[in-house]
Subunit: 241 residues, 2 copies
């Protein structure tokens, strides 16, 4: 009998922020297919899982997904697409061999997760596969908790956006929402601080680096980040009220 | 010694979607202060917790918070504010008596949670209180998983908004984002279906009722919801691509 493929959100970093369901599914699956952002590097998702679930008896496959930007209206970079195709092939082979396969993914699969690209690649491959997506705690929720700032209350609107847009677009987004969460900020903090300062919003912003992890850092004055080397696993929250 | 107040996200409904950390904190706390949307009604958050953590030996206080709209730029309704003040007073008394108090809240505290209002009321009361916010799986993440549609990928932007705005504002929001999540939709589905149909987006929408629960219902054709009695615990996802 063919196995089931589980895309499992494992939360933002603290292994305790995995769900009971995620832990149970990982315990049950024979194969863990873990994404790694760096070639021959560790898998952050695998590290999270290993904090709570034993690797004993598991077949663990770590797969490198290049950290290159993907623009949804353009063809993906061949290297990126190649990694998805290769992953899909390996996963299908495991499923056909009768194994259940878990794909642990950082945070919540709903939000900028490689898991959904792999899922999409599997769908397009035409293979008849049973897939389940298990939601997880998102980095944006964990950032809100760490900063002690809600993302939305009452009739407020929330926008989540990668900080890789032109200033004009970011101004517009900031004008039209109560809270903006900027993802992928680590390389553009200097520019963001400048923009938020211009808009009088710099004191409404909090940056959380490595949210929920032991070395989590909360920057309540984001001016202090200027010129600093910020970890790529950082989220900026701008709350107007 | 004074106790700690924990605002604990318990996820969207399936008790298995509680985090390991949430379950451990609830096990540790003497007092559970559980919100109820209806007077003398059950607490959905308490039901979720009870699916995984024993109530044995716990002091359980269920507190009614009226489900009235809160507009962040206006003074809250006196009945709503009264419920926050009363809750804060009870919680402070328990903490002063040395108990740790857990406030289980549906989904993720970051997103439209009563927990943050209570937290805010406690902050304003001037009482010196140790508070921790524990993020949870959000209803929006669980809706994405159930609908098998990502909220954002690549360079996409996501907007989360209550569906209680004027059509003009909702049109604008739909024009300026890749995915829109509409919350609090159950009373306005007919109006939303009409608007999305006009904009050619009705086939890009999925409604999930009672996400992650045993009686979860996924409406892939939202035209079928017109004239129906939709559960108040429903989320609508509109994804353009």
């Amino acid at each position: 009998m063919q196995g089931t493929f589980y895309v499992v959100g494992v939360g933002p970093g603290d292994p305790g922020l995995m769900t009971l369901k995620a832990a149970r599914i990982l315990e049950k699956c024979d194969v863990w297919f873990a994404p790694s952002a760096f070639e021959h590097g560790e898998s952050m998702a695998l590290n999270i899982v290993s904090g709570e679930v034993s690797q004993k008896g598991k077949k663990i496959l770590t797969h490198h997904f290049p950290m290159k930007p993907v623009h949804r209206d353009k063809e993906p970079d061949p290297e990126v697409n190649g990694a998805w195709q290769k992953a899909a092939k390996i996963i299908v082979d495991c499923l056909k061999a009768g194994s259940d396969v878990a794909f642990p993914t950082l945070g919540d699969p709903a939000i900028y997760s490689t898991g959904f690209y792999v899922w999409e690649t599997l769908q397009k491959s035409g293979a008849d596969i049973k897939v389940k997506i298990i939601p997880g705690v998102s980095a944006i929720g964990a950032t809100s908790a760490a900063a002690e700032l809600p993302l939305c209350l009452g009739d407020e609107r929330l926008i989540v956006i990668p900080a890789t847009f032109e200033n004009g677009q970011m101004r517009e987004v900031l004008a039209h929402s109560d809270t903006v969460v900027f993802m992928k900020v680590h390389k553009v903090m200097d520019k963001l601080v400048k923009l938020l300062d211009e808009l009088g919003l710099v004191d409404n912003a909090v940056l959380v680096e490595r949210t929920s992890l032991g070395d989590q850092k909360i920057w309540k004055n984001i001016r202090d980040t200027v010129g600093k080397d910020i970890h790529y696993f950082s989220t900026l929250l701008v709350r107007k009220q």
